[in-house]
């Protein structure tokens, strides 16, 4: 697995674990713990999106000349995930377990089908288009600074 693919895939898995912590805490009715875990997840997710939207995607777009291609689709999916996250926050604020479970399940599937496309298609393209650049190092720096 090449640098960008490997780094960003690992970060997806890292976000997943925090997502699962929030889900478990809500199911147990531990609202304070759930709130903290969800905010951590939101922070990790936003940091990941930001690393892509402000660094990886522009570099890919510059290297390929494609601004209306896969990166545009991925940005659109980021927006949908942000909306889903907002609905999870709302359900958590209302301490509504069922609503949270439904919104959380929706985000999980949305997020994983998005991750599949990135991990199987977009990141390998980035690795081949941006080979020899310092993009992977820049991404790594941003992701670590976030934590």
């Amino acid at each position: 697995m090449s640098q960008i693919t490997s780094l960003m895939t690992d970060d997806h898995r890292h976000c997943d674990e925090t997502f699962a912590r929030a889900e478990t805490a809500v199911a147990k009715g531990k609202w304070d713990e759930a709130s903290a875990a969800l905010e951590q997840f939101a922070n990790e997710l936003e940091g990941h999106f930001d690393a892509e939207e402000s660094l990886l995607f522009p570099k890919f777009e510059a290297a390929t000349g494609m601004t209306e291609g896969p990166t545009k689709v991925m940005r659109g999916e980021h927006a949908e995930m942000r909306s889903a996250l907002a609905r999870m926050r709302e359900a958590l604020a209302n301490k509504d377990k069922d609503d949270y479970a439904g919104e959380s399940e929706t985000l999980l599937i949305l997020m994983q089908q998005h991750n599949m496309k990135e991990e199987n298609i977009l990141y390998p393209m980035c690795d081949s288009q941006l080979a020899g650049s310092d993009v992977a190092a820049g991404l790594s720096e941003r992701l670590h600074a976030r934590a």
């Binding site: 997943d16 699962a20 478990t24 494609m66 689709v73 439904g102 929706t106 994983q112 496309k117 199987n120």
Partner: protein
């Protein structure tokens, strides 16, 4: 640059109706299999009765293969970036061919009516060939470096071999070909269940289990070599079956069983390490499936060494009903509500969440009924009592009607949200 035909766009994803038509007719075939058991319990006397052959194909072709093809229309663009050309038209033709073909096949086998077997071979062979050609056109520029896209190709080839062998068998049954039926039959079963369905399940699991159940990844040697290794052993096994090399055949069967059990145990092991502690119905369905596969594989090996009719029957019940149907149903309960959500979001800008579209309670009840049907089938096969077999048949009818009703409920919720 992005290869032609490769895209990540939702717009490139097929219409809702493309996979849905497959998912809607499949449960009806399952219910028909149950109804056959209910009406004619004697078909479970041995795996060779015409009725047993019909029921097996109602399940394997009418349910399993149909759902798998429908799901492939949806997942090839997502996991491999492969866009099937003219997917709407192709899916309509493939679905019609598979549905009518499966009906002809089951009727032809069940009534020993060879006149139905010829159209069945033309329709099933033609339908699958059309799908495989379209899928390979979509996949032709996609790199084979990753495990899932590569293994999907292997599975498609496995299905092609299985269907070709099936057509050969049908022609032999109709008297158009003279060959050793048992040899071709063994090869047909091996390629259909392992080369096709088994490899496809593994290819899907490499991504589905770690991502949706939030588990560690499968061990790298497994994702890298399992499908190719299994395919290679299957080829060697086929040579021993063809050459009637009894002990070598058993040894290679054992190797294949160990490979399959390794996949099943590895999946259960990953699921134990899932970060999700909230009960997930798909995970439950996978657990029933993997446990059944392991038990079914043991029955396959015992059947090799025993003349008793019950072992192949138990193997078939455990692998088809307990194994494949469980995991397929588990995946359907994720795919259908998500597609409903996705298409609603695209069409009207908002959608009820997944659990409002498909609540957990009916899924839990359906899985309980499915497990009860499995237990009843196993006991009925062991005891051989006519009324127990009828009861198992009734439970099978019930579980597939329940599945069908649950799918219709999601569609009802989808329609209401669309109209709102």
């Amino acid at each position: 640059m992005i290869p032609d035909g490769q895209t990540l766009s939702y717009e490139a994803a097929p219409a809702f109706s493309t996979p849905l038509r497959f998912f809607l007719t499949a449960p009806l075939f399952g219910a028909a299999a149950g109804a056959a058991l209910l009406a004619a319990p004697e078909l479970l006397d041995s795996r060779w009765t015409p009725g047993a052959l019909a029921v097996t194909h109602l399940v394997a072709v009418g349910f399993m293969l149909t759902v798998m093809l429908g799901a492939l229309f949806q997942i090839l663009p997502v996991v491999a970036g492969a866009v099937i050309p003219r997917s709407g038209t192709v899916s309509t033709v493939v679905h019609l061919a598979m549905t009518i073909g499966a009906l002809c096949l089951a009727w032809g086998l069940g009534n020993s009516s060879h006149a139905f077997l010829l159209p069945a071979t033309v329709l099933l062979g033609g339908g699958l060939a059309l799908f495989v050609v379209a899928a390979f056109l979509g996949l032709r520029r996609i790199p084979v470096a990753q495990a899932t896209p590569r293994d999907l190709r292997i599975a498609l080839l496995g299905f092609v071999v299985a269907v070709a062998l099936g057509i050969t068998l049908a022609l032999a049954l109709g008297g158009q070909l003279d060959l050793r039926l048992l040899t071709v039959l063994k090869l047909h079963i091996g390629w259909a269940l392992l080369g096709g369905a088994g490899v496809l399940l593994a290819a899907a699991s490499w991504v589905v289990v770690p991502m949706f159940q939030i588990t560690p990844n499968y061990p790298v040697p497994l994702t890298r070599f399992w499908a190719m290794g299994t395919g290679a052993v299957l080829l060697m096994w086929s040579a021993t079956v063809y050459g009637e090399l009894g002990s070598a055949e058993f040894a290679l069967s054992a190797v294949l069983a160990v490979l399959c059990a390794t996949f099943a145990v590895s999946t259960l092991n990953l699921q134990r390490q899932s970060r999700r502690t909230v009960p997930d119905m798909t995970t439950r369905a996978f657990q029933i499936g993997m446990g059944s596969f392991i038990a079914g594989l043991a029955c396959v090996l015992v059947a090799h060494q025993s003349e008793h009719q019950v072992w192949p029957l138990l193997a078939g019940i455990l692998i088809l009903h307990g194994g494949f149907i469980s995991v397929i149903v588990g995946m359907l309960y994720k795919i259908i509500p998500f597609l409903a959500w996705l298409h609603l979001t695209q069409d009207v800008g908002k959608a009820p969440n997944m659990k409002k579209l498909q609540p957990d309670t009916p899924i839990r009840r359906h899985l309980a009924l499915h497990a009860a049907a499995l237990a009843a089938l196993v006991v009925a096969a062991l005891v051989g009592n006519e009324w127990l077999i009828r009861l198992a048949g009734l439970l099978v009818v019930g579980e597939f009607v329940f599945l069908f009703a649950n799918i219709l409920k999601v569609l009802g919720n989808y329609r209401r949200a669309h109209a709102a």
